[in-house]
Amino acid sequence: MKRVKWNWVAIGVALLIYPWVFSGAFYENIGVLVLLSAIAASAWNIVGGYAGQVSVGHAMFFGAGAYMPLLLYKLWGLPVLAGIPAGIIASLVIAVVIGIPTFRLQGHYFSMATIAVAELIRIVVSNWALLGAAIGLMGPAVPRGWWDFVFRSELPYYYLFLAVFSLLMFVTYWMERSRFGYYLRAIRGGERAASSLGVKVWLYKLYALLLSAGFTALAGSLYALKTGFVDPESAFGILISVQMVITAGLGGAGRIFGPLLGAVILVPLQVATNTWLGGAGTGITYIIYGGIIVLLARFEPGGLLELWQRSIAPRLRRREFKRAHAA
């Protein structure tokens, strides 16, 4: 008999019934934001966590995914859903331009290139009239039909995002257990050792980046679909990249449910600081984020899931073991 993965079942059920337990637009919106953040961070996790290639400019893929559908809407009135593939293709092109040169080099060039290219794209987009320059682009304000996917209620978005998140989890799960996933972990463990075992290091890093970029673009498209509006800061800003890095890193980079855990902690924290502190809250949120990132790097680079596995889970198991044997 195949063993049932109870943690998967529990997480799945919790996500499915969440909007029925916490009903009302406010909590449903938090749920949508958690899922969006978890999708983007899980996408980052493929290259940043599993392959160990730390991107600090993933906003460029997110932004490409957010802008392309709204651009096609602006030009030809295409529904946002139909423009999603264009956003994914744009992000794959950017990924190739960055990935091929930097993955042939060792060291930190990839991280440096990602932040530089993300900033380059942000400046260009902020000054390009076709893309709305500093103002950004709008989606359809009034739905022309169901295919425009403009709803008052949060629920359709919640379940759409949940479907995408589930797809991403299954892709990640498949990747973890495939030859590809083992190659990535070998690369993270030591590039020279991996290449001496015959792994084409740069090629697999590039594959990981492409997969990651495509899903990040999809997250960007979902964001554009949900808000119906994008501007350079909310799509290409450096804080978008930061959000993905910290969400995955806090939960546990290179672990399948790390990003979800990070999102469940950070999104409500951000909503709370913004609600309590008003406009000043945004700045304070990022001071806290910066502090969390430094502490994480210094004390617990494996994230909360590793902390759990190392120090709390063994204690629980020991107690269970004792109880079973005392009887």
């Binding site: 160990g52 730390v54 060291g107 991280s111 910066g290 210094r298």
Partner: protein, 286 residues
């Protein structure tokens, strides 16, 4: 005439780029570690200068020195508190440590100083001189000259003094250096202090002629990446040359294409470099 003026302005700014980039390249070459918070060190140097001029009515020598000392201490403390513990850890921890630090410093500065652009109040260093029809502002001239002198001084210190040899010995082989009686942690703390101080002074020097806000650090760190990559991994003379080139490119592209594009051109140059010549001008291997 205006063309020569643009070139002179670019080279003077480039000298300041060379100074803070040589700080970044020192850490990179010595420890194979990229400091994403280096631009924030430049930004803090600007605000130290601002505070010293505003509240203590200090002159250029005073705020330059204050920025150097304050950032030296900050750099050494950051090394001891954080970097020492992450530098042999996973790549994720290395990058996140300074990236998080950059965010923390940037948004703390936004919180304390607000997002407004500031300029230093006029000091004894102001006015312009006319060299054969080319107008050069005195603060820019002094900043460029001091930055160039300090960069050359840093190179001489690394290559000609005992302490420089000790720093390079730790860079070459940490354990062998330890066996020779050099304390690697002390040397690396010193390197972080020097690196941050170079950024701080460069910031204080640039603050005399350019307006600044807490957000400027990001531009400077990316500029430093380009300069260091162009100059070649860990090479101070390379950073010097590349700093001047980048300053020149920025000045020319701002003049011919418009000020918005000065950074775009430089970042595009970075991508082109990675494709065509990742070892830089004076570098040998990657």
């Amino acid at each position: 005439m205006i063309f020569i003026q643009v070139i002179v302005g670019g080279l003077l700014l480039g000298a300041a780029y060379a100074l803070f980039s040589s700080g970044l390249t020192l850490i990179w070459g010595m420890m194979n570690f990229i400091n994403f918070a280096h631009g924030e060190f430049v930004m803090l140097g600007m605000y130290v200068a601002f505070l010293v001029v505003t509240y203590l009515a200090g002159g250029p020598a005073a705020f330059g020195l204050a920025a150097a000392v304050a950032l030296f201490v900050l750099g050494a403390v950051i090394y001891v508190a954080v970097i020492r513990h992450v530098m042999r850890g996973p790549m994720l921890a290395q990058i996140l440590s300074t990236f998080g630090l950059a965010l923390f410093l940037r948004y703390s500065a936004f919180w304390i100083f607000s997002a407004d652009f500031r300029t230093l109040p006029t000091t004894s260093l102001s006015g312009t001189i006319d060299v054969g029809g080319i107008l050069i502002s005195i603060p820019q001239l002094v900043a460029g000259a001091v930055a160039a002198a300090l960069t050359i001084g840093m190179h001489l210190m690394l290559t000609r003094t005992k302490i420089g040899s000790q720093l390079l010995a730790v860079a070459e082989d940490r354990n062998a250096a330890m066996l020779m009686g050099i304390r690697p942690d002390r040397m690396q703390a010193l390197a972080w202090g020097l690196s941050a101080a170079s950024a701080g002074i460069a910031g204080a020097l640039m603050a005399t002629s350019y307006p600044f806000s807490p957000g400027v650090g990001e531009t400077f760190v990316l500029t430093a990446f380009v300069v260091v990559t162009l100059g070649g991994f860990g090479s101070v003379p390379g950073a010097m040359l590349a700093g001047l080139i980048v300053g020149l490119i920025q000045a020319l592209s701002a003049y011919y294409l418009g000020p918005i594009y000065k950074d775009v051109v430089v970042y595009a140059l970075f991508v082109a470099l990675l494709w065509l010549r990742p070892q830089g001008l004076l570098g040998t291997t990657v």
